[in-house]
């Protein structure tokens, strides 16, 4: 298949149109051309054959007729008696005698009638047994001559007379130059018998025009159509009649058998009949019909120049070529216009897209077309508009993010310095209080020691506050890594840690097992530490306690809960429960900073989850939470 990968649209359309329109056209042209040329050739051949056959038949008819005429006349009483009489007078006094002249004039009158009735004859002669020409209608200088004499010795007459004498039947002479007529001549003679005795011959000279007429009749032939007659002369051959365009062709040149010239004529003379494309006597390529003319022992060729026959074919071919070129040109123009009509708006859209792509979102292509490209243009404009809005809001978002980032960095720097610098004074307070207690214990007195203990407790409390605050800020900033977290394992570890700190306490921990969730392991651990730590802490006033960690469905979602049977809280203050530094019990009752639940809520929020609680004073508390609520809702 043709690879159109990198071709431009216009070229592609042109190529496709060309392939799907021009190629079939070309094929059709070639096929019709070929079949037409075949038909044409066949037609011409048939024509040549018909003409050739026609001429052949006419030759036969003509010479048969003349032969017959000669035969009949040679037996008719009038010519026979006239022959006998003039022969006698000729022998007595030649052609100059008064008696001869008288008879000659009389015979001319008699035979003029025949002569007029047979225009195919040029002359009407009596030739005696001895070979003397004793009568001639035409009275050329052959009259009175002997056929073996100087004048007629080289003509066709001696041969004819000899043949007639031997065969005693009508005969046709050779066709050769005849000096008395100054042109070629053909004779037909019939023997005359008087009283069963051969007396001589009645000889007709065939009118040359009759012979040449066959050649000169070009009806039914194209312009270069010719009829060529030839005969063998020894081992050579010669054209015996003028050709259409060469009146001097007759008897001009002897040609060799086996030569390259006039091949059809050679074959015709050789007795063959056929048709084909050959070279003629002028070395022109012709379509020729060659045929033997038996009655004259001649060859006849009817031929047409190949160039001419195929002239209409060439014309047709030229028309085809012109038509094809015009068509191809038309295709080129049409497809160019078509391609332009498509590619130009595409180019406009593309330029527009480039402009939009380079950031100019106010640009409008605004192509007004009702077709798909118009729609595309409209869509691109709409898209640019939309993109502008999005970009604007994205820019705002980026700005907000940038501010948030810088705020976060400030917060980080702040908490970093808090963790280092705020703690240092506390360390001093605690350290030097301790030094005082150690080194000046006897000077302090009981209340002095008590106050110092309080200073140290206050320092410790402040340190814890700082730690919890930092933790709250840290969990807000920490990068989340989501994974499947085994909640049971974390809970067990937290509970184990709590038990280790207060091994004397009786706390039963229940959990169904198999609790997992998607979340950040570290944050979930901190949350569970806080929630379980609270449960542990708020059950500390009971001798034995029960803590349960389980799962349930809440509004169709998995929710987890941690339930204790501890002190609980007053639901009236529920709103404040998750606020930082918010405590619902006295420090003395249950120590703590009041930041734990705020931290837990922050962790749940960061997971896209929620936390809520139920409780009654003295009846324990249940804390519920979900993770990834938003994510699940989205999915």
């Amino acid at each position: 298949m043709i690879n159109l990968g990198k071709t431009r649209l216009a070229a592609r359309i042109f190529l496709l149109v060309f392939i799907f329109a021009a190629v079939p056209l070309l094929l059709i042209s070639v096929i019709t051309y070929r079949s037409f040329s075949g038909l044409l050739r066949e037609h011409i051949q048939n024509k040549l054959i018909a003409i050739s056959d026609g001429r052949q038949r006419l030759f036969g008819e003509l010479f048969d007729g003349i032969l017959n005429l000669a035969k009949v006349k040679a037996k008719s009483p009038t010519p026979v008696s006239a022959f006998e009489k003039i022969d006698r007078i000729f022998k007595k006094g030649g052609i100059q005698g008064a008696e001869y002249l008288l008879l000659d004039a009389k015979l001319k009158d008699i035979f003029q009638v025949y002569f007029d009735a047979n225009p195919q004859l040029n002359d009407f002669m009596f030739i005696s047994r001895e070979g003397d020409v004793i009568f001639s209608m035409r009275h050329e200088n052959d009259l009175g001559e002997n056929i073996h004499g100087a004048l007629l010795g080289n003509t066709a007459l001696p041969g004819l007379m000899s043949t007639i004498g031997i065969t005693a039947s009508p005969s046709i002479s050779e066709f050769s130059f005849y000096p008395p007529s100054g042109q070629p001549a053909l004779f037909i003679g019939a023997p005359v018998f008087i009283k069963e005795r051969y007396f001589g011959a009645l000889v007709f000279q065939v009118r040359l025009e009759m012979i040449y007429g066959f050649v000169r009749n070009y009806s039914g032939l194209p312009k270069t159509g010719e009829v060529v007659l030839g005969k063998a002369v020894g081992d050579q051959f010669i054209i015996v009649a003028p050709t259409r365009y060469d009146p001097q062709a007759a008897f001009r040149t002897m040609l060799d058998f086996g030569g390259t010239l006039a091949e059809p004529l050679q074959m015709a003379i050789a007795g063959k009949t056929g048709i084909g494309v050959r070279k003629d006597y002028k070395s022109t390529v012709v379509l020729a019909r060659w045929q033997y003319v038996p009655i004259l022992d001649w060859g006849m060729v009817v031929k047409v120049d190949v160039n001419e026959i195929f002239q209409p074919l060439y014309r047709m071919r030229n028309i085809y070529i012109i038509f094809f070129c015009l068509f191809t040109g038309l295709i080129a123009v049409v497809s160019y216009m078509f391609a332009r009509n498509i590619s130009k708006p595409i180019k406009i859209v593309r330029e527009g897209l480039k402009i939009i792509g380079s950031g100019n979102l106010d640009y409008k292509i605004g192509l007004r077309r009702l077709d798909e490209i118009g729609e595309l243009s409209g869509d691109v404009d709409k898209m640019a508009g939309r993109l502008k809005e999005t970009t604007a809001s994205r820019d705002e978002l980026n700005e907000a993010n940038r501010k948030l980032d810088s705020a976060n960095k400030e917060l980080e720097a702040f908490s970093y310095s808090v963790s280092h610098d705020l703690r240092a004074p506390l360390r001093g307070m605690d350290g030097f209080s301790k030094a005082l207690l150690d080194e000046c214990t006897d000077k302090l007195g009981d209340s002095g020691k008590e106050y110092l203990m309080r200073v140290r407790a206050a320092a410790k409390n402040m340190s814890e506050l700082i730690d919890d605050l930092l933790e709250l800020s840290r969990i807000s900033r920490k990068d989340m890594v989501f994974e499947t977290v085994n909640l049971n394992r974390i809970a067990e570890e937290v509970m184990a840690g709590l038990k280790e700190q207060e091994p004397e306490r009786q706390v039963d921990f229940f959990s169904p097992g198999g609790l997992t969730a998607r979340g950040d392991a570290r944050l979930v651990e901190i949350a569970l530490q806080n929630l379980l730590g609270n449960a542990w802490k708020f059950t500390s006033k009971h001798k034995s306690a029960k803590i349960e960690f389980g799962t349930m469905k809440s509004e169709g979602r998995d929710a987890y809960f941690i339930r204790d049977d501890g002190a609980g809280f007053d639901a009236a203050y529920y709103d404040k429960l998750f606020n930082p530094f918010q405590r619902l019990h006295s420090e003395k009752e249950f120590p703590g900073t009041g930041i734990g639940l705020a931290t837990v809520r922050r962790i749940m929020e960061r997971h896209g989850g929620r936390i809520w609680a139920e409780s009654e004073v003295g009846k324990g508390a249940t804390f519920y939470f979900t993770l990834n609520e938003k994510k699940e809702a989205a999915a």
Binding site: Y416, H420, R423, D430, G431, K434, D467
Partner: protein, 145 residues
């Protein structure tokens, strides 16, 4: 025999006093040199500036290094110590009040030998000093410079 000294890098007088006190309480009697900022600590260690008459081969047995320091901070001091061939193996313990993970990770990445958060409660601080095994460190031969 060379004296086994401790270099304490700390800017706060309170923390210096408390540290010295803690060392004393824990029966660590080695002489303690104090540098009050990072630049001074580097001068001391590499015997430059105010300490140019010090013998550079006379390195302390251990450096107790605070992170938050004026001029050059503790992390930078540690980095410079680890970059120099002569001090590459010098024991450095970071003492800090910070609980920040980033300090911890940075400290170990640069190559401190130990990392101790200075507890506000003095007992815990002493315990940390003990847990560091400084007794062992201070009583043993230091690595050849």
């Amino acid at each position: 025999m060379k004296e086994r000294r401790i270099l304490l890098v700390e800017d706060r007088q309170d923390d210096i006093d408390l540290t010295l006190r803690s060392l004393k309480e824990n029966k660590i009697t080695n002489k303690v040199d104090v540098a009050r900022d990072g630049a001074e600590a580097l001068d001391y260690i590499f015997a430059t500036g105010a300490y140019s008459d010090r013998n550079i081969e006379d390195l302390p047995s251990v450096v107790l290094l605070d992170i938050k320091l004026p001029k050059v901070d503790g992390m930078e001091v540690l980095r410079r110590i680890r970059q120099d061939k002569r001090t590459k193996t010098l024991p450095v313990v970071i003492l800090t009040s910070s609980k920040e993970e980033k300090d911890l990770i940075n400290g170990y990445a640069i190559g401190c030998n130990s990392y101790v958060r200075k507890p506000v409660e003095f007992e815990e601080f002493s315990k940390a000093i003990r847990d560091l095994g400084l007794y062992w460190l201070l009583l043993n031969e230091p690595p050849l410079a």
